[in-house]
Symmetry: C2
Subunit: 344 residues, 2 copies
Amino acid sequence: MSRFTVAVDAMGGDHAPEAIVSGAIRALRQSSDLEILLAGPADKLNALLQDAQDVQKRISILPANEVISMEDAPMLAVRKKVDSSMVQAVLAVKEGRAQAVVSAGSTGAFLACGMFRLGRIPGVERPALAVLIPGTQKPFLLMDSGANADCQSKYLDQFALMGSVYMKNVVGVADPAVGLVNIGAEAEKGNRLAKEAHERMTAQSSYHFAGNVEARDIPSGAFDVVVADGFTGNVILKYTEGLVGAVMGMIKAEVNTSLRCKIGALLMKPAFRALKHKMDYNSVGGAPLLGVEGAMVKAHGSSGEMAMANAVLQAEKMIRGDIVEKIRDGLTGLVDKMDGGEIV
Amino acid sequence: MSRFTVAVDAMGGDHAPEAIVSGAIRALRQSSDLEILLAGPADKLNALLQDAQDVQKRISILPANEVISMEDAPMLAVRKKVDSSMVQAVLAVKEGRAQAVVSAGSTGAFLACGMFRLGRIPGVERPALAVLIPGTQKPFLLMDSGANADCQSKYLDQFALMGSVYMKNVVGVADPAVGLVNIGAEAEKGNRLAKEAHERMTAQSSYHFAGNVEARDIPSGAFDVVVADGFTGNVILKYTEGLVGAVMGMIKAEVNTSLRCKIGALLMKPAFRALKHKMDYNSVGGAPLLGVEGAMVKAHGSSGEMAMANAVLQAEKMIRGDIVEKIRDGLTGLVDKMDGGEIV
């Protein structure tokens, strides 16, 4: 096994196992250091590896005969379905046979796997899901995108640190600017959580806190990491999808009101296509779950071969970037003295 | 004085007093039942009324010689600057000389005026700011759009009721469907606030609760009133503005990459202009502050003549719709028995 072994849940996602396996093969062809552990039923997976002679010696099969479905209650499934492809892939990381794991299966179950199979990095209060969202100038990492509906200010402080470590070491941003989602630019603005988080984030020394970001300015690209509680973060994530779709739909509706506009739209097709591609955060790769003892990437449920390959390569980058170790180091620069606060 | 007298803060807003006064005149020309009390310095305002002979007998001047600026601390200004145009206009409602008040001045000061000069309708926990936002099919009322950063579930229940009363009696929606902003469609999803609010909203009998709305579906037009705490609501409001602007900016940037697209964009100009107009929530009118003892409309700070006229006519509709009385009535159908809960 190489130092860059990624365990892949071959049975998770809408297009499993075919797209998952071909995505894994594609990733292996792109990165010569990479090795892959494919978790799933051996016979099915072997059949899909026929055309991968060139990379076959870097793929091993991790036999797993159960599947966690979208209908399964996450916690229960993670506890009971030990022989599932997802749990087996995660256990491979726990046992040191892989350094990262990728799944396009149930988000809830994957989060539960992270928390209860891998465990948190000591000192991390709550692991969080990070999504890289396209902005006008550059993408930003939204942290937490929905793993933690109820948050305390110390969680937000850690989200900022973890997001910052990821942007620096995986995406390659030299000095990531962290913004705190708030309803005003001034320090004293916001709800209790945001006010207390602002105070903490100002006091720490582990990342570059650039102040509050009003929602209006989120897409501007002035911030590399955008921090919010998981409820607000999830609203931002889903609203991005809904609103971009709505605007596109409204343009389409306007276009259909005149021939002139129809011709214009036809000519503009390449621009719309480029925009659609740019705004599609699923194409950027998967969402890393940060704060657990291993590199975890949640690929989108609808991932095809390309998206899956990207997610695997992203997991490899997380190994190369020593994400887990660097989060551990960064925690020491956060402020602990406010932990007595019971406000939020 | 007629039953439909609207007090107007003539000195609030970026284009005061000129655009405010001409907006008031325009509104008077459109509605023959309307009377207006213009609050501001008599000499200045009289000079602006020269060309309004046709409606002059329906305008009175309410002398006020101070102005509350955007720099003033809201609470302090509302207490100290009694002779300001904003406070005088609000006091006219309190004293029964007008039934509604409109201002394009400081939002914070206007909220403070509502709370401390007019006072809350008995039983209302927190007045809230409502903004009508364009959707793909029809507009929806976002409640609270930012007046209350920290909320309890009983506030949200009341926001739903008040928004519902407004949509029915001012906008004319027969049976407004209320959605609760949440991170999942199921009742058990969400943060503690959303879960408790869902329970309350299901139990009441004053409005039509249609369940949780995921942020992705907010623009769809399936909901007439979208309820959230003021922090989340303000994020949604501001993000709408920022993201629509970002998408338009990205289309523009794509267009400039080829001549073909440039020509297409030129042909599509009418469609873009129509969309821009449709998405501009400022053109819809002002934002009502609901829950106070009087009809209050906050016009956008940048309001010109047309926006101001719309805001005044909207205030008149709020009087006609008996908003205050109907909110009072609706409160009785809300559930009080959960008020012992200390969870949120």
